[in-house]
Symmetry: C2
Subunit: 236 residues, 2 copies
């Protein structure tokens, strides 16, 4: 089966967590909106009353007759099919719990540059973003990274569930990579105290399929339209 991933063509965004899972799985997929005419196809599909499970927003994945929305939900589905999550219920729920916590973190990362409204420009909320960034760097970033470090310590490592990589590890890689881009100073300082988190980043980046993906044209570079944006004034 060839999966169809529907996500914005110019950003990593939330689609990237799905792309990383598909790449690690070696799955056959097409990144629809990046094909000629693909973005229009995505918009038609979002409005299509024939789709019985419409999404509030991209990403969504077409898998045969299924159309699945919400990043963590797509990963729940892919994890079970491609060995990117434990088979037993307890492990499956645990990896999903970690993914949902990473998703909460991603919302907060995004809202640092958009504290007032996602439909407004960053330029229209710069003073508010500066205030939010201060709270983010001093309170939220350490709290989230400290939590993931604690979980990795408890698992025996190097990954969240031990020796086997899961989709949540791939997502942690992406979050660390993004934080390094967006908040290089704050991230460097915090990584010194969270060596297990850094280690997951290094291990995932070195996995053959992920390394090949990151070096390919399929990987969209970070930019100031995505979730992780480098505005030096927000990095303290």
């Amino acid at each position: 089966m060839r999966y169809e991933l529907y996500y914005w063509s110019e950003i990593q965004g939330r689609g990237e967590y799905v792309r990383l899972a598909l790449e690690e799985a070696g799955a056959d997929y097409v990144d629809v909106a990046r094909e000629p005419g693909g973005e229009a196809k995505m918009m038609r599909m979002m409005d299509d009353r024939g789709v019985k499970t419409p999404s509030f927003a991209p990403p969504f994945l077409k898998a045969g007759r299924l159309v699945i929305g919400q990043t963590a939900n797509i990963l729940l589905y892919l994890g079970g099919r491609h060995g990117l999550a434990p088979k037993r219920e307890a492990g499956k729920l645990w990896v999903h719990q970690l993914q949902l916590t990473l998703a909460d973190f991603v919302v907060e990362i995004h809202d640092v540059h958009h504290p007032i409204g996602s439909g407004l420009y960053y330029e229209d909320q710069k003073p508010e973003a500066r205030r939010r960034a201060q709270d983010f760097r001093s309170a939220r970033m350490p709290k989230f990274l400290g939590y993931f470090e604690r979980v990795l310590k408890g698992s025996g490592g190097p990954y969240f569930t031990g020796r086997r990589v899961s989709y949540a590890d791939l997502s942690l890689f992406q979050v660390v990579e993004g934080l390094r881009y967006a908040f290089p100073k704050a991230t460097a300082a915090l990584e010194k105290k969270h060596k297990r988190v850094s280690a997951v980043h290094e291990l995932v980046a070195a996995r053959p399929r992920i390394a090949a993906y990151l070096a390919s044209q399929r990987r969209i570079p970070f930019n100031e339209m995505g979730i992780f944006r480098h505005y030096p004034e927000l990095d303290g």
Copy 2:
């Protein structure tokens, strides 16, 4: 099996979505932090290195040997056990997708009164909250409610998956109830255009177990420590 729900004792918050599912299921559960000494027990459990699946934050549910965190993840588990979600994978994923979209909405509802930082007081971010509330009422509330109305229209109704109630319908009830409390003017205006959403609220409120729960002492009243807060200045 007697479930143990761990959540803050003085607010509905995110724990309420779990409480509603447990109540509708007629499940045997204890709301641990509301028992004498319970809040301390919850804090000990959060710090307990013996818990292999620690939560970033409450709520979490102890179900036999499982300890499950993240609201939507708890509902995924309970939904399968208590007939609050379809049995087949496609339906299960669809209800979870709706729950995750409701969770996104809940984050935005919370952040209206806390746009700068969740660790700061509302009083320290009032001008920012006013700006965010304007964007929320004019752009985000209509977008989310319009999406749920569209889904209910597509399902044939009255619930998200048709004639059987799911945990996502219980959560939609809670969101509408909370919006009526927090933003009475904006909500009244929008409910006129979203009659199917209002209908789910009425149907859920009238379900015998939910009605009994809402009339009981177990239901904590809304207040200005929770997610849904009534600050008239944010209601336009």
